[in-house]
């Protein structure tokens, strides 16, 4: 009789342990997989790449951007997003743009004075790139790229592209 009671208690004990272990495994899996993948690095790089490919192809500046006389075409600059087939309009849960990019053109001889600037998106994100505080480091992801390209004739330009992606809620826990 006593042995039967012992067996019952042990069975209940094992059942409780089983539930606890199963709950633990569930908790571990949900903890591990609930954290998102931060893909903003790739997104910012892709945006920069798209811009770079639109501006320059195989080392030559886009002929729609610069005239034969070496003058930048206003029409291309004014409709940069359409010309480059870039869409930074907010979609889904977002009401405000989640991107910012700027392209600065410098003369080869003087890489300090900007001769042309093209920018789109929310400019407030730009200052977030400079924040070093660990608490705010995930606020935005910034991608800075630079390359040389040939313009009209013997002219060479240094092009610096800054792409910024916010989308913090989707990418960071």
């Amino acid at each position: 009789m006593n042995k039967k009671a012992d067996g019952k208690i042990i069975s209940i004990y094992w059942f409780i342990i089983l539930v606890v272990v199963a709950g633990g495994v569930f908790l571990m899996v949900s903890l591990y997989y609930s954290s998102p993948y931060d893909v903003r690095d790739i997104e910012a790089d892709l945006l920069s790449e798209k811009i770079a490919n639109c501006i320059s192809y195989q080392g030559d500046l886009n002929s729609n951007l610069i005239s034969d006389a070496g003058i930048f075409k206003e029409a291309f600059i004014d409709h940069f997003l359409d010309e480059c087939d870039i869409n930074i309009n907010p979609v889904g849960q977002w009401e405000k743009p989640q991107y910012y990019f700027e392209v600065n053109f410098y003369k080869f001889e003087d890489s300090r004075a900007i001769i042309l600037n093209i920018s789109e998106g929310d400019i407030n994100f730009k200052s977030d790139c400079e924040i070093k505080d660990k608490k705010y480091e995930n606020l935005v992801v910034c991608s800075k790229k630079e390359f040389y390209t040939r313009g009209f004739g013997e002219n060479v330009y240094l092009i610096k592209i800054l792409s910024v992606v916010r989308k913090t809620e989707q990418n960071v826990k």
Partner: protein, 110 residues
């Protein structure tokens, strides 16, 4: 008396076993929460202990090299070459400049 001692020994065994199970469980839950932080795609690794294998192609370096090669016979090529070496020193490129240059030279039809 003997029976009581045996029962006490058995109870302690179960108690210790239960504590070990809980300690291990909490250890693994803590481990999962530490490993489960926000993951970045650029740091993708095929397994937990292997080094990162993400290799990026530098299209910006390629564009600059194409510009450099288009001036190959002019005085400007030297200046561009120097500037590109300067950028490499700054760590701007994802690939070694000379390797990429040789790669493009061997594949490009100039």
């Amino acid at each position: 008396m003997l029976n009581n001692k045996a029962q006490l020994g058995e109870t302690i065994t179960w108690l210790v076993a239960t504590i070990i199970i809980f300690v291990l469980l909490f250890f693994f839950i803590f481990g999962a929460s530490v490993l489960g932080k926000t993951k970045s795609i650029t740091e993708f690794k095929p397994s937990l202990f292997s080094k990162s294998e993400f290799k990026e192609k530098d299209i910006y370096l390629a564009k600059s090299i194409f510009t450099y090669l288009s001036f190959l016979d002019s005085k400007k090529s030297n200046d561009i070459h120097k500037k590109l070496l300067g950028l490499e020193e700054k760590g701007t490129f994802q690939e070694p400049y000379e390797d990429k240059l040789n790669d493009i030279k061997s594949n490009a039809v100039l």
